[in-house]
Symmetry: C2
Subunit: 111 residues, 2 copies
DNA sequence: TTGACATGAAACCTCTAGGTTTCGTATAAA
DNA sequence: TTTATACGAAACCTAGAGGTTTCATGTCAA
């Protein structure tokens, strides 16, 4: 029985990673933390547009923000991607039994 | 240098899995092949609506269809999810070094 | 051959995603 | 204390996503 909150968070993650711009932002933030302007400089769109993408990423818990003076520093919180990995792992059995079995074994070991 | 086709296919996959109804359809088809009516019976929406979702899943190469008389049998092609797994694997390093290293080792072994 | 069934296709509707421009405000710097 | 900077918020626009109803067509079954 999955509680509703879990479902909605899961959906927010899938929604967040669905957009190519947002995945690109994640790639940027995987190298270093950045404020809004730094992120926006990498795209051919206005700053408010990028800010909206960041909002969606935040809703999906894929990034976090800390205030630093007048800047807002964004950093990646990639642990949230485990949600996707968990979903994916169910389908692993269909395309790579060897790997998925091993992966499950390791995960069990980690608990 | 990723060719454009790859990018677009990748985007089609991410788009396909972004919708909860479509992920549920994938879950259904992971148990057995089904025709349109069988799939649609599991949802509180009209058959044409479900047919549209199937179209998106086909665009993302996540399902395939074969004609059988007047029916169209849909089956899951989960190998396509490797696209997502590959994308995810880059972020593995940030949340589980032990597992991701092992995973990479196994994948290299499989090539 | 006639009727029921499985589906595709098209026209339409509504809402939202993704973008823009404009303006206001807090902070830093001169 | 001005002035420039970094940003949020709001109003707006457009295309497309996700749904509906209606109708046409090929196939199976009686």
């Amino acid at each position: 029985m999955k509680p509703k909150g879990v479902i909605m968070v899961e959906q927010a993650v899938f929604r967040a990673i669905a957009d190519p711009t947002r995945r690109e932002i994640m790639g940027l933030l995987s190298t270093r933390d950045m404020n809004l302007n730094e992120i926006a400089n990498n795209f051919d769109m206005t700053r408010p547009a990028v800010a909206k993408h960041l909002r969606v990423l935040r809703d999906g818990r894929l990034i976090s923000v800390r205030q630093h003076g007048r800047e807002r520093i964004h950093s990646l919180t990639p642990e949230t991607l485990k949600t996707v990995a968990d979903w994916l792992s169910y389908y692993d059995q269909f395309w790579d039994d060897k790997l998925s079995n091993l992966k499950r074994a390791v995960e069990a070991d980690n608990d």
